[in-house]
């Protein structure tokens, strides 16, 4: 499939020099070591605190205790511990307070809780660092292994850009396609499979869509909102648009209803995408359908490995932020989109998407056939080229400009593709 593309082949080593990645990995590991030391420290404190609580609990059991009292540095003398229920507790900053045993225990427990919260936050930080370190190490090994990043212009039916990893580093690399492993051949097969499936589903969808278009709109929306709302909270949507979109979604449900009720997407992602896509579509285009369609189309076209990414791609058109949305969001952007598979790059999503790839691809297949969407189901599949449906349902499609332009024709090719040129 490289045949038609004019592309650039860049050895990964030139983008992410081996030594530098290794150095970066080492630096992150050092930070990790430091944080772990602090973590140990805190754990010791917590243990001490618990011991103290036990001791304080035991003391008031007797009126007085016979003990050996330390005297200076190296001597003890026998003595008695009296007033066993009175404790002078250090509150901090040189302040002491007289408290009973029970009150002291409360104070200690509160301190223990704050210590634990500190430990938790530290652990979270360590986890992030570890993820970063593993990324660096992987990049270093890849670069050393002579992996190559191949970038090609988007050619119909042959998505050549495949994003494997989009890590923070990728951002430097125009934020787009990540290194491409030599899985293109595999991708091709997968892609072919996807396309075949898509075609089938598309047929079904077309048939179904005729009937569904008008009815379903409203119902799904409510669910959608939930779904969409959940997602956004996770992602930092930079765009308030998303929120608006969601609202908008309520208004125009076409798309929502279209979405795969039937499909059994369990992925949140998928749902998420779908919902997002829907929403955004609804809002942005005010046609709703077109977006979905676009997304669907585009997704369809890209399928295979790119599939998950496509969603992002649509979105990514613009930026990473879109990606966070997980692709459906970008639908707004997708309008402009066609973005290019390159956008897929964004790391988080790609990775996640790739995970879901399989499921989504199947979903996509279903989706295409089914125009109606289930509010719960994410669009994921909506790649379906509803070219013909569009005119029917939305009628607004044209507006989306980029999206619709040229994609109107009912070709099975996703609209997305058309735009990409």
């Amino acid at each position: 499939m490289d045949g038609m593309g004019k592309g650039t082949v860049t050895p990964l080593a030139s983008l992410f020099p081996v030594e530098e990645s290794q150095k970066a990995a080492k630096r992150v590991q050092d930070t990790i070591a430091e944080k772990e030391k602090e973590l140990d420290h805190l754990r010791v404190f917590i243990a001490d605190n618990n011991n103290l609580i036990n001791l304080v609990q035991k003391l008031p059991e007797e009126l007085h205790h016979d003990i050996m009292v330390p005297f200076g540095k190296a001597a003890f003398f026998p003595g008695r511990l009296i007033h066993t229920n009175e404790f002078l507790v250090l509150l901090g900053e040189g302040y002491y307070a007289d408290r009973t045993s029970k009150q002291t225990i409360e104070v200690l427990r509160r301190r223990g809780k704050s210590l634990e919260s500190q430990v938790n936050s530290l652990e979270a930080i360590i986890k992030d660092h570890k993820a970063e370190a593993s990324f660096f190490i992987a990049t270093a090994s890849e670069a050393a292994g002579g992996l190559v990043e191949i970038r090609e212009d988007y050619v119909e039916e042959n998505p050549s850009k495949q994003d494997l990893k989009s890590g923070p580093l990728k951002q430097d690399v125009s934020g787009l396609a990540g290194a491409e492993r030599e899985t293109t051949s595999v991708d091709d097969k997968e892609f072919a499979r996807m396309m075949a499936r898509l075609d089938e589903l598309e047929e079904e969808e077309r048939a179904a869509e005729r009937g569904n278009l008008d009815d379903e709109n409203e119902g799904a929306i409510s669910d959608f909102d939930e779904i969409s709302y959940q997602r956004p909270s996770d992602n930092n949507l930079q765009n308030s648009e998303d929120i608006q979109r969601r609202m908008a979604l309520k208004q125009t449900n076409d798309i929502a209803t279209k979405f795969p009720k039937e499909h059994k997407y369990q992925d949140d992602m998928a749902d998420h995408f779908g919902s997002l896509a829907l929403q955004s579509q609804v809002r942005e285009l005010s046609e709703g359908k077109t977006m979905a369609k676009n997304l669907k189309n585009s997704d369809a076209s890209e399928m295979s490995t790119i599939y998950p990414e496509e969603k992002i791609v649509h979105a990514t058109n613009t930026s990473k932020a879109e990606v966070q949305y997980q692709a459906s969001r970008p639908s707004d952007d997708s309008q402009k989109q066609a973005s290019t598979s390159s956008t897929v790059g964004h790391a988080d999503h790609t990775q996640r998407n790739s995970r879901k790839e399989d499921s989504t691809s199947s979903q996509v297949g279903c989706q295409t056939s089914e125009p109606s969407f289930d509010s719960r189901r994410a669009f994921t599949g909506s790649i379906i080229e509803h070219a013909e449906n569009l005119p029917k349902t939305s009628g607004e499609q044209n507006s989306s400009s980029s999206l619709v332009s040229g994609s109107q024709p009912s070709k099975p090719v996703s609209r997305f593709k058309m735009q990409r040129r």
Partner: protein, 130 residues
């Protein structure tokens, strides 16, 4: 030769700027440390305030002043702790402002260094040609 003298001068300039930059960076590091200390103190004081609030009226409070534990009043202790918290917050804000300042200076110094480096490179290229 004039060009080599100019070159040497440019290099000396670069060194000076580099020194300034490292000084700035040390200042920034110190600022960070002081800020950390203050932040910890602020946290501690807030904890104390919380505990004091939980104390019943009439409970004995003592303050450690040197080797002496001095009995204090609940109201007095509350007021003192609050004042300290305010003071520390003000200090933190001041430090933040200084930090901003220092960072800006550092950035401008970096740019200046870059320019000097470019100058040196051009001089050297010129010398090489001649």
């Amino acid at each position: 030769m004039a060009s080599s003298a100019a070159l040497r001068e440019a290099q000396r300039e670069l060194e000076n700027k580099a020194n300034d930059l490292s000084k700035l960076q040390k200042d920034i590091a110190k600022n960070h440390q002081v800020r950390k200390k203050y932040t910890i103190q602020l946290g501690e004081n807030e904890l104390v305030l919380k505990e004091l609030d939980l104390l019943r009226e009439g409970a004995n409070i003592y303050k450690l002043i040197g080797p002496v534990l001095v009995k204090q009043d609940l109201a007095e202790a509350n007021a003192n702790v609050r004042k300290r918290i305010e003071y520390i917050s003000a200090e933190l804000k001041r430090l933040d402002a200084t930090l901003q300042d220092l960072e800006e200076k550092q950035n401008s110094k970096k740019e200046a260094i870059l320019k000097s480096q470019q100058k040196i490179q051009s001089l050297q290229a010129g010398k090489g040609k001649a």
